[in-house]
């Protein structure tokens, strides 16, 4: 367990705590139980998609497609539920498979076509929304299935269901990254792909798999989105990919690949959501929300980059010896 809860979590955790304290000071509505359980609902979709975004980043890729893919998948799901009359129990696994396959497709093009993932997924960002528009003449499809809403709004033992999704998927992801062959191969591919090839790691396969994982997690997010909004729409999920990447980055994942802790991404997502919640509770206009989110991303990465400088600054301020062992 030491591996999972490692030093890389300290920074993002501290950030989350600080942000929580600040928000709690600005409004006494923050720390009521209703609002706290509400936070899990708020964070769930972004945080689940961010798992995939982070895994791709660990392997030194980037996934810009998830927002559009959410739109496409909600439309496909809506189509299946409303016009093809598929029961929920079949439609849900099917949409997860579709998501994983779309992701795999992007991964195969990236890995075997040797096209930078920024390009592949940029193309997909544009094309998937186009595909989403081909369903139902581009109009949203409303009121899909009575069984859908409880998937998002339901509770178990008084705890919102999304909490359990988060627990499950983050648990799985943390185990995979730290205790399985695949997880270590993903880090190796991100850290030095040339070395990974020479060590006998099937680099292209690993890259493709990360995108399949991202597609799958995006599908999970799309299901929750459909459930939350009981509809499918080609407009859903705009800039969701950026929010997911932001969560990963605020959690300290390096865009260069090979480094990072998946649980930190959850903390990154929580940090962002707590700030948004705090701003909502204070009825901040969307202008302020955007500016603050931009600053958080910058600060989080900045603090990560300047860690060495900051800590030597801190230690000199607090009178410790300046000659601490550098890292």
């Amino acid at each position: 367990m030491k591996r999972i809860f490692d030093a890389q979590l300290i920074g993002p955790f501290a950030a989350m705590v600080i942000v929580t304290l600040i928000v709690a000071m600005t409004t006494d509505r923050f720390l009521n139980p209703g609002n706290l359980s509400n936070l899990f609902l708020q964070v769930s979709i972004v945080a689940l998609i961010a798992i995939g975004a982070t895994v791709v980043i660990f392997a030194a890729g980037i996934d810009l497609s998830s927002g559009s893919m959410v739109a496409l998948l909600t439309m496909i799901l809506a189509q299946m539920l409303k016009f093809m009359g598929l029961p929920l129990i079949f439609a849900l696994p099917l949409i997860l498979v579709v998501g994983a396959l779309l992701g795999l497709g992007l991964g195969l093009i990236t890995a075997y076509g040797r096209i930078p993932s920024f390009i592949t997924t940029l193309a997909a960002l544009i094309a998937f929304r186009g595909l989403a528009l081909t369903f139902n003449n581009g109009s949203p499809i409303f009121s899909l299935d009575p069984g859908l809403e409880p998937i998002f709004y339901g509770k178990l033992a008084g705890i919102p269901l999304p909490f359990f999704y988060l627990l499950t998927f983050y648990g799985l992801a943390a185990f995979t990254m730290n205790f399985t062959k695949l997880g270590r191969e993903i880090y190796a591919v991100g850290g030095n792909p040339a070395a990974a090839v020479l060590t006998g790691i099937n680099v292209r396969k690993v890259q493709a798999i990360t995108f399949a994982i991202a597609g799958f997690m995006t599908a999970v997010g799309a299901v929750l989105m459909s459930a939350r909004l009981n509809s499918g729409s080609p407009n859903y999920g705009q800039t969701l990919e950026l929010q997911a990447i932001a969560a990963a980055v605020v959690g300290g994942a390096s865009l260069a690949g090979g480094r990072g802790n998946i649980l930190a991404t959850f903390m990154g997502a929580m940090t962002i959501v707590i700030v948004q919640n705090g701003l909502n509770l204070n009825a901040a206009p969307s202008s302020v929300q955007n500016i603050v989110l931009g600053l958080i991303i910058l600060l989080a990465v900045g603090i990560d980059m300047w860690r060495a400088e900051l800590s030597s600054l801190l230690s000199s301020v607090f009178g410790k010896s300046a000659s601490v062992k550098g890292g």
Binding site: G138, S139, Y153, R228, L229, P234, N280, A283, S286
Partner: protein
Amino acid sequence: EDYPAPVPMMDGAQAAIDAITPKNETFRIAYMPPATEFNYYIAVGEGIKAIAAEQGAEVFMLAPQSGADINGQMGMIQDVLTQDVDAIIFGTHDEFAAAPLIKKAVDQGIAVLMINSDIPNFPTPIHGVVGYSQRNGTHKIADWAIETYGGEPVKVGIIEGQPGYHSTERVGGFLDGIEGNEDFEVVVSIPGGWNVEGGNTAGMDILQSHPDLDVIFAANDYMIIGASFAAKALGRSDIALLGNDGDTSGLEEIAAGNVTATVNTSPYLMGQAAMHATLDALEGTYPGGWIETPTSIEDKNGAIAVLQEPEKLFPLPSKEY
């Protein structure tokens, strides 16, 4: 009276007014339009604020920037539900998405009114709806167009909004209006994304692909303003450009002769009516139902007349008329 007499809603769509339980001495009211990107909702909000100031209520606005960000709006409604608000005045581009949260609000004893809509049967019971009939408004401008341009063949291009209730109703009203008239023919219909940039691109495209258009109707004023630049660029001063909304900038463009006419729906007045009805609902004196706010068709002269009464407008006109 402060607003026209409400029309009862459909069976089962009316939430009980006497179940509203205000918690605060000074009423705390959330105004939650679907987006801040439209001047229109800002104008509605100003109407609401004006009455709030007059009557001593506290109002705050919370909305995502983009109208497409339904998920963001739901997040905001969720956050508001954990607070002690007494009423929510909301508008949305996706009533089915909003339904579960709106139901929760009603169950909590919050007064819930919808603005800029004419839905008599919101998916879950609410206390009131304030707005003009989307279909009637654009139907009227179609009638006006037939009266003004009929008698010879007229080719029409349509710029739709993002697909959804508002776009369907407004375009539908226009199509209803010209239906059966053999002079009017719709030759092209494409989306313009509700904004000026999208309207400009769409206008450019349909004028390129159909140089013979006589009339362009857009589902809101922003898009027709965008299209007007395209018409100007292609030297098409002869084309009739019709919009919908009547926000200040749209009216000024009509007064300046860039746009031909619009459906004036007086958002500022709509906001005032909505606030009066909300306060009444909190006092228990509102009977429930849909308040239809008036609309009118304004061409150049009409627009100038409206602009001469700036106290009924938000934002204020950029000059005196």
